[in-house]
């Protein structure tokens, strides 16, 4: 780049060109201003309306996952990542280890059309919220567009 094309004697330029730096920083500033405080991540869930009528045909195809406090004793936030090894859940009346959940849910719901992929959760009230979310996370991990609905635990 020639700075002083009209000068016969080119003088040394001692300053760093900070224009590209300013460009980058301005863009970073805009990104931080607009994006950072506003994005959230989480899980969409439903609670069936108390008045909603459940026809027999719908009930038949419901896949119910129950998480009880006896089989899955998570009363405090689980340490580290994932869920404790001793956690067992009941999927469609079968007791399975929580770690098997993605494969089982995928094998049952994977064949269904997308709008029928729903998992009904019956969760014990005493369980820790973070543990419950991690089980939802696990159940959703293998199936796309899985709808989660909470039903009353019995």
């Amino acid at each position: 780049m020639q700075f002083n094309s009209n000068d016969s004697v080119s003088s040394l330029q001692s300053e760093i060109n900070i224009t590209p730096l300013v460009d980058v920083v301005l863009v970073l500033l805009i990104i931080f201003m607009v994006v950072v405080p506003l994005l959230m991540e989480g899980y969409d869930v439903d609670i069936p309306r108390a008045s909603a009528d459940t026809s027999a045909q719908v009930v038949e195809s419901q896949l119910i996952l129950s998480i009880g406090s006896a089989a899955c004793p998570m009363f405090g936030p689980p340490a580290g990542e994932g869920i404790p090894k001793n956690c067992q859940v009941t999927l469609a009346d079968q007791k399975i280890a929580a770690a098997e959940l993605p494969a089982r849910v995928a094998s049952i719901l994977g064949r269904r059309p997308a709008e029928q992929r729903a998992l009904f959760l019956a969760v014990d009230d005493r369980l820790n919220y973070e543990g419950v979310l991690r089980i939802i996370d696990l159940a959703k991990s293998a199936v796309d567009d899985l709808k989660i609905e909470f039903v009353a635990a019995n």
Binding site: I18, V36, V123, Y129
Partner: protein
């Protein structure tokens, strides 16, 4: 510019002060961003693959703090006033959506009661906000 030399016209704008100001603004935003959130400090549950819940604007934030206290947006609410406060928070919003920010230490009953209350106020479906494992922020 050397002394004694005839001053040349400088064609470039001196942007060094601009750069200073912008850098300071950037630092302010980086530091302030986590505190700009509405609502109380909630230690969100860690999960591996939460889905995007989109922009915080246009969502109604129901927060449940560690002690089980309910908040709507940035105000604490008594459970008996939850319904009317939630409806007031919606206002004329055409397509309102409620998200629940529950603390990781809560038990499921407290979150379920909030979900039931949201549902009784006339909303179908809520988002349960989590934090991606290893991600910074609250």
């Amino acid at each position: 510019m050397r002394l004694g030399e005839p001053a040349r016209i400088q064609a470039a704008i001196n942007i060094t002060p601009l750069a200073d100001v912008v850098l300071v603004l950037l630092i302010i935003f980086m530091v302030m961003a986590p505190q700009m959130r509405k609502g109380p400090d909630v230690n969100l549950p860690n999960t591996t693959k939460p889905n995007s819940q989109g922009d915080e604007r246009g969502r109604i934030l129901v927060s449940i703090d560690e002690a089980g206290g309910l908040w709507i947006n940035d105000r604490p609410v008594a459970p008996e006033h939850f319904d009317e406060t939630l409806r007031a928070a919606v206002g004329a919003e055409p397509n309102p959506r409620v998200v629940i920010r529950g603390d990781a230490k809560l038990n499921f009953r407290q979150v379920r009661e909030a979900m039931v209350a949201v549902e009784q106020a006339g909303f179908r479906g809520v988002g349960l906000i989590a934090k991606r494992s290893g991600a910074e922020g609250k």
